[in-house]
Symmetry: C2
Subunit: 100 residues, 2 copies
DNA sequence: CTATCATATCGACATATCTCGATTTATTGT
DNA sequence: ACAATAAATCGAGATATGTCGATATGATAG
């Protein structure tokens, strides 16, 4: 758990928004088209639509969040789905609680 | 409590170090010279010495941390003392716990 | 096997952050 | 009043981040 890397990733409004939206995909995103449910998260295109930023920017952001281990990526066919890595997010918050 | 501003301030190793050192001034800094104790925190020069960065950089960092409300500044004569704002730090951690 | 679509990567430019030395401001001791 | 000291502010150059459009990659459908 690289605390500093996570903090860098979280020092951006859009990325914070994404993390919060992913807490409740049913509420924040339209229904999935190519998979039956949100088990593996939300596809890049839905996230991109909601932010209004370019495809490359959002793909880049999601990659950053994935590298910092706060998101889990799953590929189904040509779609990539991202969901929260709840375990790492908890570790991060506990680390803050104990060490900040 | 501007969560994003605090996160930006905390996405830097040196500033994190400073915040952690200030948890225990007695242990991390030499005794105060111009005030009897660490009640109001630690003076800029002690913090600067410990980091090894320039005076202007550390003054700038401490100002950032103060503006983000995680440090409290007190002036005694020509010295400025900085200490943690425990209330705001708690608010920040609670916000993370509840909203991240 | 080719066209198409979703995503990732690349290259570039604009803006922000890091960090310094120099200068200014505030305070104190002479 | 003046010199000395601590801290804050200023100006600048180097590095990092934000963001885009263009291109590459990988998967699928025909």
């Amino acid at each position: 758990m690289d605390f500093l890397e996570i903090n860098k990733v979280l020092s951006n409004k859009v990325r914070i928004d994404i993390l919060q939206w992913l807490k409740n995909p049913e509420k924040n995103f339209p229904p999935q088209i190519n998979v039956p449910d949100f088990r593996d998260g939300v596809c890049v295109c839905h996230i991109q639509n909601k932010t209004g930023l370019s495809q490359s920017t959002i793909s880049h952001y999601l990659t950053l969040m994935h590298k910092a281990s706060i998101l889990i990526a799953t590929r189904h066919g040509k779609w990539t789905y991202y969901k929260r890595n709840e375990e790492e997010i908890s570790n991060y918050i506990n680390f803050l609680k104990n060490n900040l």
